[in-house]
Amino acid sequence: MSSKIALAGNPNSGKTTLFNELTGSAQYVGNWPGVTVEKKEGKLKGHKDVIIQDLPGIYSLSPYTLEEVVARRYLVSEKPDAIINIVDGTNIERNLYLTTQLIELGIPTIIAINMIDIVRKNGDVINLHKLGSALGCEAVETSALRGTGSKEVAEKAAALAGKPVSGSLPSVFNGSVEHAIAHIEESIEGKVDARFLRWYAIKLFERDEKVIKELKLDSTLLQHLEEHIIACERELDDDAESIITNQRYAYIAKVVQTAVKKKHTGQKMNASDRIDRVVTNRILALPIFALIMFCVYYISISTVGDFVTGWTNDTLFGEMISGNLSAWLEGIRVAPWLTSLIVDGIVGGVGAVIGFVPQMLILFLMLSILEDVGYMARVAFIMDRIFRGFGLSGKSFIPMLIGSGCSVPGIMASRTIENERDRRMTIMTTSFIPCGAKMPIIALFAGALFGGSGFVATSAYFIGVAAVIVSGIILKKTKPFAGEAAPFVMELPAYHVPAAKNVFRSTWERGWSFIQRAGTVILASSVVLWFLQGFGVVDGIFGLVEDNNTSLLAAIGNAIAPVFAPLGFGDWKATVATFTGLIAKENVVGTFGVLYGFAEVAEDGAEIWAHLAADFTPLTAYSFMIFNLLCAPCFAAMGAIKREMNNTKWTLAAIGYLTVFAYAVALVVYQLGRLFTGGAFGFWTLIAIAVLLGFLYLLLRKNQYSEYRERAAERKVTVNA
């Protein structure tokens, strides 16, 4: 008989480390059904049939955020056999707030007081016995980082599993409230699982909308309960939710007073605060941030990354694999077309992308370190002001920042954003920021058509950022994204030395999902591309073609090219390059190379500049560049979008939005650019002007949903009065 143990605790309490400790590599990571929240579960090490379900890091079990709702739903409907509540010992008051809510569920719970090593270092003493008896469950010391105590916690939890909770739950609330709760319990007895009676009663007292909906109580009963609640509210001169919250904290304060002896009271400046004096200093914060980011990118992309990628591409794939592989295949008399398929198609295509992996792993590693150390929270704190202006929060900055290296981990980083609307919006717009793979495209056109001017790259980033901002403003005024601005009330966790295990694990997780995508999608599309490029119909006969202008790819390209004519680059080569860019953006350069007859080109495509200059004008080149930079990202990134959105409709909407936006911008740029460079006024110029006006309207119109927000807030107030 298998048992389920839920792992619940605050964010930054060391839950992830404990989870990794308990489950080792036997983990499964996915999403909770229908939502963008990550779901992690794993088998408990050393036990054959015990599953540890990691719940999202939560501060409370309120009905207001997605993570809390997901956790509640799991606890109440999946009914785990035990709960391990991980508590940050250095931050015990706020952590115990969740504890008081978990124990109300009547599920056997064991508390793991984590970071006990830091607690001891601070000189504080926690009396486990007193703490345990005050909360009605056992408390165990752990230091997930040092690996102590985790086994004990797991064993005890497994032993508790399925057993009824011993003893009665502590009376957290005062007389009249407990009285009202007892009344409510009576009224709903039989309607809910007996174990959860108290939890439901307290939620009803708080007028929890989700619980009210779930229980489908009839209006007379609700009215009856309402009378009890109002009586309490009048007596204590506060609203029900606040009463419960205040009394919980009051109870915790008493518990902490008896069970915890703190060495320092009052305002102490600990190590983290001292570091923050410099790092979030009014004057130094931004320069320090710029310096740190510069180092991260310099190390991962320019020096180590470049070297490793270069070696992977040239030596590993170039000489060792392609060279030897061709020779070997020829040696065993494999048909030339199959050799070509394997060497040029598969190895060439996939290899180009795999070549990126070392660079990305190093980037992921650096960013994981920054995250684990606790710096990312500071980044959100510093940048919030900017993002608040268009309806997001500082937390949306981190995905964009990471996205400037690679959109894949950038999109994955959106998981830390609590508000689902903001999360979706961030997922959608992260790939506007030029990633590392788009740099070759910029370098290519800058060199071919703009004399290597640095302005091109700068303007590309500017356009990317502008696209994010404009999208934020436009989307916030649309129904799916409108609504109350998410509260930006964020903890700044203490800095701590990054845990090597965690860092390597999260680096590997990101790197692996990228490699997986490369392995599947990119492999398949490389094969398809190889085929379409090398085969065609010549004089009515289908077969291998010499001149790729007659290939199937050219035929398809020619068929689709007119779509891009209004953007100025309606020839088949440009169309094809754009499409290969969907596989991996750096393919655009390589594809142009191949199409102009060069099997291999330098990163910035210097060999083909002359060809490009012949086929493009500065304006059409810029338009092409903009379209490719803003449109749907590479398959790997699209895969990341799909995974994070966890919803096909939203994924398609995101990709559609990006492409339409890119098309619109390129259209406006090209058509109006043409007008200014002396071109004739045409049908498409008219369309471009209409599009531009459309943009301005969407940007500047009044937000009809801000009234909706105000009215909703008003509604809540009247109910509580």
Binding site: Y64, D238, E484
Partner: protein, 73 residues
């Protein structure tokens, strides 16, 4: 009416009352900002918003517009 928004850096105040409603108010309370608790204003972010406060022994960042909901003495 003095709110957390008007408190200067370095000052410690006590929460008297929480205004507002719904998700924001609940969030603020869930994070430990309740009637009677002491709050120390540690600093303001480089761009002027949000502010960083110490409450119940940990650091919390909160926007000035949300801090306005917290009445202090």
């Amino acid at each position: 009416m003095k709110t957390l928004r008007n408190v200067g850096v370095g000052e410690t105040v006590t929460v008297q009352k929480l205004n507002g409603a719904g998700a924001i108010k609940r969030r603020i309370m869930d994070m430990g900002v309740t009637k009677g608790v002491d709050i120390y204003v540690r600093k303001v972010a480089p761009l002027g918003d949000p502010i960083e406060v110490t409450v119940r022994g940990y650091e919390l960042s909160i926007r000035k517009s949300d801090a306005e909901m917290i009445e202090v003495n």
